[in-house]
Symmetry: none
Subunit: 207 residues, 4 copies
């Protein structure tokens, strides 16, 4: 009789091993062997559960995206009464927290993005993720900035700054401090935007 519940377990173990392998050996250096060794299983198991290496890779990406998404939703739901200003900062914080905590994810993510240009499925996943960050930001900016065009630009600039800091953190030391700094600067930028273009500010200005 089949062991019940073993499939989700094995799948997760293999996904974890994949992220770990990419972290350790790089994307190029990651093979069926390095993954299965890290997972403590045989190489054939990957075909068994994911059809192919490619299938496992894509499952790993989907897992990363899901994690990030869940992390954000958790935060937002835990603070249902947060102001939109706070909400923006929570988006920033969650992003950096996620990458800071999950070291394997960081480098893997970059590899996946590099792959995306020649892999339609990865490209699709990447687009979804990229758009989600921007629309999350836009949602709150719209409540804080009357001019939709300015709100839109604020969201895009913030998203770019987040991605840019993420990229720079990933490519350099990745110290906890670097992430903290990045988070603060993004928050500062948000403040600057609100202060300059926000509704209340506009009112104050009139006075």
């Amino acid at each position: 009789m089949p062991k019940i519940g073993i499939e989700p377990l094995r799948r997760q173990q293999l996904i974890d091993a994949t992220l770990q392998s990419i972290e350790t050996h790089g994307f190029q250096g990651t093979t069926i062997i390095t993954i299965s060794k890290l997972a403590g299983m045989s190489s054939g198991i990957i075909s068994h559960y994911f059809g192919s290496k490619q299938g496992l890779i894509e499952a790993a990406v989907r897992h990363l995206l899901e994690q990030l998404k869940l992390g954000l939703m958790e935060q937002l739901e835990a603070n249902p009464n947060a102001s939109h200003h706070d909400r923006l900062k929570m988006v920033v914080k969650t992003n950096f927290n996620y990458f800071q905590k999950s070291s394997p994810a960081t480098h893997t993510w970059l590899c996946f993005w590099a792959q995306a240009a020649h892999d339609p499925e990865l490209a699709r996943l990447q687009t979804v993720n990229s758009k989600r960050l921007q629309s999350n930001l836009l949602y709150s900016f719209k409540h804080l900035i009357s001019d939709p065009s300015i709100a839109n630009r604020a969201a895009r600039m913030t998203a770019a700054m987040i991605d840019g800091f993420w990229l720079r953190c990933t490519l350099s030391l990745q110290s906890a401090e670097a992430y903290k700094d990045a988070e603060q600067m993004c928050a500062e930028f948000i403040d600057l935007q609100i202060q300059r273009f926000g509704k209340q500010h506009a009112l104050e200005k009139l006075c």
Copy 2:
């Protein structure tokens, strides 16, 4: 007239073919064969001029970095009397122009960065490049913002925003308009910083 050595010519042709191949086939799909086919040469020539595939790859990265660096220097030297405010915008403009014009470079760059995590030489080159952008920005911000700490943060935020927009352009459509938009938003951010923290602003504020 001295004959121009055939060696530099061959080397450049191979570097161009490498960038073109990565653009067309992706980093994974780029082999000695795809490169030599595109260059119209034999596969053996790569060992001959670059020792190995890895050597050619690194030469290609160095070429990209050099191009970007030269592009910026050219701009700055062509406008020796530009204000520091203008100088900041020139840095931004040059960056986006470079990537917009050189389509192969864009994707290749991302691949190289993904590789950098497991290739010390690429990592070194990447760090140099990353720091150059930041210090270029910092140099001018220092002249415009009195507080060194704020100038520093302004430079880091601007660098992040540039990289972030670059990343987002690379990963999405890469239309000319997108690059133009990105450039404008970065310029806008610079203005915002100067307006808020700049020396003249400080004076005006006092009045």
Copy 3:
């Protein structure tokens, strides 16, 4: 009422699934998985009932041979008073009917024969089958043609023609008409032989 053993049932289901799989996926494309899927059972069951894949394959061949043999015996027993001339035609008819009806058998048979060269057991089964056709034909030809040597040649030629037409039908369209044509031509050849070398013909000739 005694319960019919589940074992014979399972064995037959697996043999049927094997033939179906070879028909559908080819001999190379037939695996333990394709067979067990078609049989609606687990892959382990094959070891359980046949020891190995090879065991199942051989059982399937034996089944095909048995079917052909039984088909012929049935016909002959249903017409105990048939003349030897009619008997020959019944042999021909039964052969083509069998293959025409059982589509999976046709291609499978050819695969088995190709395998036979490197599988002693298959070779043995194939020889038995080949000889049976010839001796069946010879048995009747002997009653119709006085010269044993000529009867022998007639049997061999007829067997060859049957096999040849079977091969050509298998390799081409396998339309019902093709089988009908083939059967008629074999019957015609038998007539021709009897007409030319048969006892009655000899008598008539004397007249």
Copy 4:
């Protein structure tokens, strides 16, 4: 500088090794390794010259077909004044000679035919070959038998008998004698047909 004329040589060596391997190890047992070992080359060479194992297999089939075709053409051209009756016997003779001489070909041929059902290219080649034999026979039968329908049937029956004997020889001992016998019986069948349906016979019959 590339060695001139080495490509055709290597290709032929690999095709020969393929036939030899199928003869020795069977179709299933023939791998890239068995072939390259027999050819005294490395495994990579097969990709280099034929793209894939499949490409080599198909080249080998084409070679066998070509050989058979050339053998027949040679015979026919060497005897330009042969009567159509002799021509028919030459077709028979060439067929059996070819297979008798080339032992590897015999078994290989059967394997290829078994594969044909699931390989369009092999199926195409097989059809061409099958039709060639029949039309070669038909061409001469038409000159000897007035009724086109009867000539057609004669050609088909003869082709079937040739294939049938070939199959039976292949599957059994393959002694030289067996081939000789088969050839004689086919020739005998041709005689029988001409005798019975041929134009001269028709005239005689009228008398």
